[in-house]
Amino acid sequence: MHAEIRVETDDFNIAKEWAAMRARLGGRAGAVVAFAGIVRDHAGTEQVNGLFLEHYPGMTEASIGKILAKASDRWELTDTVVIHRIGELGPRDQIVLVLVAAAHRGDAFAACEFIMDYLKTDAVFWKKEHRPDGDSWIGATGRDRERRNGWEADAR
C-alpha cells in the first residue's frame, strides 16, 4: 500500500493529489474518498479569526504513520495520503487532506473517517485559536475522544 504523509506550511492542491493518486491506482481501486478539513470562522458561538498549528518534526509524521498502519490493518486499502498544514491559517483555509483509495467503497469510507478521528486525538499537533478576546490553545474535545474510542470498541 502506498502511504504518504506530508506536514507542510503551504496550501495543498486537491487536484494535484487526486491526479497523482489516480495515476498510482491502475485498475485496482474502485473507490476514492477524500476528506478536507477547512478552518471555520467560529467555534460554537464564538468567532474565530484564525488558527496557529505547531508540530514536532519527525514525531508528528511518525504519529500519522501509526494511524495509517492501523487503518491498513483493519481495511483493504490501496493508497493513503495525509497532508496536514502547519503555521498560521485563516478562516476558509484548508487545514488537512486525507485521501484513501480501496477496491470497495465501504473500506474507503470507514478508513478515511477512522484516520480523521485519530488525527484529532493521536496526531502530534498543537492548535491555537485566535479569538477576538485573545488566543487559546485547544485540545481534542470529549466528542473527539468518544469518536476515537468508538473505533477501539468496534475492534474488540
Binding site: 478539513g37 505547531e54 514536532y56 519527525g58 514525531m59 511518525a62 504519529s63 500519522i64 496536514h84 487545514i95 488537512v96 480523521m116 488525527l119 484529532k120 486525538t121 493521536d122 496526531a123 502530534v124 499537533f125 498543537w126 492548535k127 491555537k128 490553545w137 485547544i138 485540545g139 481534542a140 473527539d144
Partner: protein
C-alpha cells in the same frame, strides 16, 4: 536513578508549554541522568508556575521522540520533550 558524570541533553517545549516557559528548547547538563534529574535541573531555570505546568494534566514526556513512561534514563545527546495534549485535523 544513577548519578553519572556530565550528561548534556536537549529539552524541547511545544504548544502552550513553549509559550509558558518562553522558549523552544534549552540544553541542560543534568547531574542525575533521568527524567527526574531533568526536572530538578529545570527547577533552577524556571519559576514554580512554569515548572508546575510541565507536570500539568495530559502533559507527556518524550525521550528521542518516544513517549517515556515513568522516570526513564537519559543519555548524553538525548532529546527530551514536554508535550501538552495534542489535536490535529
Amino acid at each position: 536513578m544513577n548519578s553519572a558524570a556530565s550528561t548534556v541533553v536537549t529539552v524541547r517545549f511545544f504548544g502552550s508549554l513553549r509559550e509558558t516557559v518562553g522558549r523552544d528548547a534549552v540544553d541542560l547538563d543534568v547531574d542525575d541522568a533521568c527524567i527526574a534529574g531533568v526536572r530538578k535541573r529545570l527547577a533552577s531555570l524556571l519559576s514554580a508556575d512554569e515548572l508546575q505546568a510541565l507536570s500539568g494534566q495530559g502533559v507527556r514526556v518524550c525521550v528521542n521522540q518516544t513517549i517515556a513512561r515513568g522516570n526513564v534514563e537519559v543519555r548524553a545527546g538525548d532529546e527530551v520533550a514536554f508535550l501538552p495534549p495534542v489535536t490535529g485535523g
